[in-house]
């Protein structure tokens, strides 16, 4: 069933963040949400895991309307969702190993298993997930403060992947990462979608990543959906904001043609 937004409205005080937003993401699909800062992209993601509730409208994850669930009932939905935050959001009192294994020790996760995982099995999963984000087992005992920002973001991604969620929500996953890891993360999002049928929603400013990885792209502007479509449809869009994003991407590849040096 995927994820569905029905006429969602949200405001913080007098400021309207989301205004009648409706869209649907199918199982296994990768949707990129693009938009300027403050367009409501991160707020959209937080509605899916129930961290924020809509003022009106509804948000469905699978068949469940998460906008009316209590905190207790939401934990079952959250068990299926993995969220990578804009900041690494690692628990700074725990080591990398404890952070990545955090989701493997929650009652909801343990209840979904036939038998509890042994410590060796947990360690194996942690090392496997860290290797997916180009990190070795040498970081296991380090505290988050001993890692660079980019490494912290990768640990955060590994933590999200550890409990094998069905839905992955990325809030600017490649911000602060080097180009090689950025490519690895984009490839990972693509592989998870194609091999494991994981549904991914990626909030980003990066049109280049979106064009490379997305099945569809949604552009938010002034609290509303400006446009939504496949990569080829977005490339042909006449909307100024979309054109600006595309030109910016082109400028990265062909700086001389835009800058007027050649």
């Amino acid at each position: 069933m995927g994820i569905r937004f029905n006429c969602v409205c949200k405001r913080f005080g007098p400021k309207i963040i989301l205004n009648d937003v409706s869209f649907e993401v199918s199982d296994g699909e990768i949707l990129f949400i693009l938009g300027k800062s403050g367009a409501g992209k991160s707020v959209t993601l937080k509605h899916i895991v129930g961290v924020l509730k809509p003022d009106s409208g509804s948000v469905f994850v699978g068949d469940t309307n998460v906008s009316i669930l209590s905190d207790e009932a939401l934990t079952a939905v959250r068990r299926q969702c993995g969220m990578v935050f804009q900041h690494p959001a690692l628990l700074d009192s725990l080591t990398v190993y404890q952070n990545v294994s955090f989701g493997l020790r929650t009652p909801q996760y343990l209840a979904s298993l036939e038998r509890p995982l042994t410590e060796n099995e947990i360690q194996k999963i942690v090392i496997e997930k860290l290797s997916l984000v180009n990190l070795g087992s040498d970081v296991l005992d380090k505290m988050p403060s001993a890692l660079s920002y980019g490494m912290q973001k990768r640990v955060s991604l590994a933590r999200t992947l550890a409990p094998s969620p069905r839905y992955l929500l990325f809030d600017e996953p490649t911000t602060g990462l080097d180009p090689i890891t950025t490519n690895a993360v984009n490839d990972l999002i693509f592989e998870l979608s194609r091999k494991l049928n994981v549904t991914s929603i990626v909030v980003s400013h990066d049109m280049q990543c979106a064009l490379k990885t997305a099945d569809r792209i949604l552009v938010l502007d002034q609290a509303k959906i400006l446009t939504i479509g496949s990569v080829s449809e977005i490339k042909q869009s006449n909307e100024k904001l979309v054109k600006d994003f595309l030109e910016e991407t082109l400028a990265l590849f062909l700086p001389s043609s835009i800058g007027g040096h050649g």
Binding site: V51, R78, M83, Q86, A89, L91, G103, P107, R159
Partner: protein
């Protein structure tokens, strides 16, 4: 001026109501979910360990100040014999619980508000929630219980050190030996005095725990938001402790003067 007063009162009651609802959620979580004894013990040892040196240091000096001040008054009425009793009663009843709670507010309250506020603005609390864990159960409950229990533990330590310090000062500076000092303690201090001190300390500890956890947990707006949370925690804790002090003191006066004689009479 009137508008300012009305606005301040509105804000005060709004904040107070929100803290009460937050405490209700904590209490509900304590009773409805499985507690993590290990996390609570770790927090108790951390809070007590971090504060014990400050409490001990302050205890000695407060004991010394009180004993010197009481002596100055009592000597005018030839009442030096009551020095130990008066000093101990004042420390156990009022000064001890108040002093410990103010020290806890400055040290542990500010620390807790800053720690939770930073976790909130860096999305660590959201991450815990998204990983299927209740942040109230995982983060707040151990801290809340630990601060309340630690406030009583620190009170006992503080009282012993403060009374010991008073004895030492009266022996060295006032030439009153420890036996003489201790002789009048029983006249002014009984079990109900100790019970009232412990009860007050637990109430003030609950205020420190609830306000600091609430302000940190609901912080927003980056580093500025964390700073605001810490400031608000310090202000509200001190304010609520003073109000609670008035209420608890009157409550114990009422219990001792009216209720206990009434029950004894009826018996």
């Amino acid at each position: 001026m009137r508008e300012l007063i009305v606005k301040s009162m509105n804000r005060f009651f709004h904040e107070f109501g929100s803290i009460c609802l937050f405490v209700a959620t904590i209490v509900k979580t304590v009773f409805c979910t499985r507690g993590n004894a290990q996390a609570i013990l770790a927090q108790i040892s951390s809070v007590s360990y971090r504060s014990v040196s400050t409490v001990a240091f302050a205890g000695i000096f407060v004991g010394a100040i009180l004993v010197l001040q009481f002596h100055r008054i009592l000597v005018q009425y030839d009442g030096e014999i009551f020095l130990g009793g008066l000093n101990t009663s004042a420390v156990v009843r009022e000064v001890g619980p108040l002093l410990i709670s103010f020290l806890l507010a400055g040290k542990i309250g500010a620390f807790t508000a800053a720690e939770l506020g930073t976790m909130r603005v860096t999305e660590q609390i959201d991450a815990i929630q998204c990983l299927g864990t209740n942040p109230i159960q995982y983060l707040i409950v151990p801290r809340w219980i630990a601060i309340i229990i630690s406030s009583v533990i620190l009170l006992v330590i503080g009282l012993v050190i403060s009374i010991g310090g008073s004895m030492l000062v009266s022996n060295i500076l006032l030439d009153i030996n420890p036996l003489q000092f201790a002789s009048s303690i029983g006249q002014f201090t009984d079990l109900s005095t100790v019970a009232s001190g412990i009860f007050k300390s637990a109430v003030y500890g609950t205020i420190v725990a609830s306000v600091s956890c609430y302000e940190g947990y609901t912080a927003s707006g980056g580093a500025r938001g964390v700073g605001k949370a810490v400031t608000q925690a310090a202000v509200y804790i001190n304010l609520y402790i003073i109000i609670a002090n008035t209420l608890t003191s009157n409550m114990f006066e009422f219990l001792q003067d009216v209720l206990v004689p009434f029950i004894k009479g009826a018996w």
